[in-house]
């Protein structure tokens, strides 16, 4: 495979791989089948657990990862978001350009708050990288939607896309994630299975798949946990009943 300028994308592969098969004492393998593994303990974790129970597991784990947890309804969602924004004394928000903001009737609320001078509202603009990054860097809050949510580890899985910039969940001081309750699954196993199946079907997967569990942290100084390092200093999850 070559680049536009005719340069090989893969360099020095053959001699490298031939050396490996030689050391392994056999010819190069051109076809193999991944065996069925003997055990599968991952499938037993939170097996046959209801959506409500998964939500409770998620809530409990949020405590362990310094993340605020709120439950709400569709009707109350925008109020809950505003309360959460106020809780962090935030004055500016950047969101993804994502149709879910319209389907949950949030873009109109955000526009109203902006007009009323309550909070400055920006949407990620993929046409202008530098400006979008600069806005995200200044913003107090990055507001996103979880694509898949892992109960066990209280993890939101975010797939990057044109309107879903990586910076929105990374650069602002606080990351607020809206979690539609239907996106909650037991653990990483279900999310990676979904990605694996997409790959097996020949579909294109996102260039960046973020599994995010709470705010950034570090224990590099005398093993003391400090919450908030390079990524957001605070994280809040808002679970909305979308049934």
């Amino acid at each position: 495979m070559k680049t536009n300028t005719g340069e090989d994308l893969i360099q020095r592969r053959e001699s490298f791989l031939n050396e490996l098969s030689k050391k392994l004492g056999r010819e190069r393998k051109k076809e193999i089948t991944r065996p069925a593994w003997k055990v599968s303990p991952q499938l037993d974790v939170l097996k046959n657990v209801s959506q409500d129970e998964l939500t409770s597991v998620l809530e409990e784990q949020c405590d362990a990862i310094h993340t605020k947890f709120v439950k709400t309804t569709k009707a109350d969602l925008s109020n809950t978001i505003l309360d959460t924004i106020k809780l962090y004394e935030a004055s500016s928000v950047i969101t993804w350009k994502d149709e879910r903001f319209a389907s949950f009737d949030l873009d109109s609320s955000l526009t109203d708050w902006d007009h009323a001078g309550i909070v400055e509202y920006h949407v990620w603009n993929s046409e202008n990288r530098d400006e979008s990054v600069a806005i995200a860097e200044r913003a107090d809050v990055g507001l996103t939607f979880s694509d898949i949510t892992l109960a066990e580890s209280a993890t939101v899985v975010l797939f990057s896309d044109k309107g879903k910039g990586r910076s929105v969940s990374l650069l602002p001081k606080t990351h607020i994630v809206i979690i539609p309750k239907s996106t909650i699954v037991p653990r990483m196993t279900q999310a990676t299975k979904w990605i694996h199946e997409k790959v097996a079907n020949g579909e294109t997967i996102a260039s960046c798949i973020n599994f995010i569990s709470g705010p950034s942290n570090s224990a590099d100084i005398e093993m003391n946990l400090v919450v908030g390092v390079h990524g957001p200093l605070h994280a809040a999850y808002i679970v909305v009943d979308d049934a």
Binding site: R28, V199, A219
Partner: protein
């Protein structure tokens, strides 16, 4: 810097460790905390032994078919428009990355934590051509600004430093004016490094696991610096040791679940970031250009040998966190960026017995490392194999060791002589006993008794005691 750290002999490094009171206290408390967290997390998961078995099975299969999976990985990266360079040596890897930096006329390079780039000495190579390279992991950053103090642990590199020392380094090198509180030190690093992320021309990362089926790779982190490095710079270079690969995303689940629990006792780290190629068309952030550099640097020589399973290692440091020898001598004593039991096995394989023949002996063979390894690498058995190679085959043992081994061989072969020798051990040791302990032993006991006393041989032998007990 390369894999080798420090320039003294092993016994000097060891003694320095033994006499460093702060470091030993720091290591003890870190080990205790990490061990406790690990075992709590393993218990909470349930079926830990099944998980380990699965981890071992996946790693064994992957390494047995490593040529196939690396071919698949590189094909998939190229399909997404990424570049792949296979580097047999560290020189090849460094030269390739230097050329990228030259081509991009890069001034500033931001790096997230990576053991393999330490191993190949990439920072030096890039600084030689005039780039400014910034380590952005907090621990690595502290070490870098402290005149490149070497790491002493593969997960917590600055474990040997206390907060007052860190405050002094920040003050002296960066004009820091606040207290030694970890929160304030961290906030200062956040603000200082934010600028570096925004101005970086190239981002360089390591790789926890590549995923062959989709040409992806995953970074397992907590601080968010690896996300910065893969979001903001326009060019991204990822360097991976050739064995750091899994077949599919489903296998990635297992390896990450084992890694985060075994290393720090977390269910997942704050960030597990799965990246595939450069950014897709229409996306604004993420790199425009992506290079994956796959490094051999001595690893292929381990394939097909009795040591092959050391390539299964996922760099969790669980073995380091339970090792009683590491507890006493600390990371720097190993003379390698890979310390502890994994280092004692891997370092001599990558760096040769000439420089590292002492390391396999820096172990009590208690087997705690093997017991906690999440992918069931028989670490202490590898240490025994090393010892056999060093002493029996290569005749590299010290003179008194050879004499002792030879003597022991003769004695053990003849039950009469063995009985005599063990019976007389108690009497023979008498001149060395003070207050019931041997404080200054002769010959092979000398090194042992420099730092601790030894029990003299018992008057009654185990064999005799056992016989009497039966009767």
């Amino acid at each position: 810097m390369g894999m080798h750290i420090g320039d003294k002999q092993f016994d000097k490094r060891r003694d320095e460790g033994l006499h460093d009171g702060f470091m030993r206290q720091a290591v003890r408390s870190a080990q205790t905390r990490l061990q406790t967290n690990r075992s709590k997390a393993a218990d909470a998961l349930g079926g830990w032994e099944s998980w380990r078995e699965l981890g071992e099975e996946i790693r064994t299969h992957t390494l047995e078919n490593i040529d196939y999976y690396l071919e698949q990985l590189s094909d998939e990266v190229a399909k997404r428009g990424g570049h792949v360079f296979f580097a047999q040596t560290k020189e090849e890897a460094n030269e390739y990355i230097q050329n990228i930096a030259k081509e991009k006329e890069a001034k500033y390079i931001a790096k997230s934590k990576s053991m393999v780039t330490e191993e190949i000495g990439l920072n030096d190579a890039l600084e030689q051509i005039g780039c400014e390279v910034v380590e952005t992991d907090l621990g690595e950053y502290i070490l870098q600004i402290d005149d490149h103090d070497p790491p002493s642990h593969i997960v917590a590199p600055a474990l040997h430093k206390n907060k007052a020392q860190i405050r002094d380094v920040f003050k002296e090198k960066l004009g820091y004016e606040h207290t030694e509180k970890p929160e304030e030190l961290t906030l200062f690093a956040r603000e200082t490094l934010r600028e570096k992320f925004l101005q970086a021309d190239i981002g360089i990362t390591g790789c926890n696991f590549a995923v062959a089926e989709s040409g992806s790779f995953a970074l397992v982190t907590n601080e968010g610096n690896a996300r910065m490095v893969t979001t903001l710079p326009k060019t991204q270079v990822t360097v991976m040791g050739m064995e750091r690969i899994v077949p599919t995303w489903e296998d990635l689940d297992i390896m990450v679940s084992l890694l985060t629990r075994a290393s720090v006792g977390q269910k997942l780290t704050s960030y597990v970031t799965g990246l595939t190629g450069p950014k897709l068309e229409g996306e604004a952030d993420g790199p425009e250009e992506f290079h994956l550099v796959i490094v051999d640097n001595g690893r292929s020589d381990i394939l097909g040998t009795e040591f092959q399973s050391i390539l299964h290692c996922i760099r969790c440091a669980a073995c380091i966190n339970v090792c009683p020898v590491y507890r006493h001598i600390g990371g720097h004593a190993y003379g390698s960026i890979y310390p502890g039991p994994v280092g004692a096995v891997l370092t001599p394989l990558l760096g040769g017995y000439d420089d590292y023949e002492e390391l396999p002996f820096a172990s009590s063979l208690c087997g705690a490392c093997t017991e906690v390894c999440p992918v069931k690498i028989p670490l202490h058995e590898h240490l025994i194999s090393h010892r056999r190679h060093i002493i029996e085959e290569d005749k590299r043992g010290t003179f008194s060791e050879n004499l002792m081994m030879k003597g022991f061989g003769t004695l053990a072969k003849s039950s009469g002589k063995f009985n005599t020798a063990t019976k007389f051990a108690s009497t023979g040791a008498k001149p060395f006993v003070r207050d019931g302990m041997i404080e200054k032993g002769p010959g092979p006991l000398k090194d042992w008794t420099i730092n601790r006393d030894m029990m003299p041989p018992q008057k009654q032998r185990f064999r005799d005691w056992y016989k009497k007990r039966e009767g």
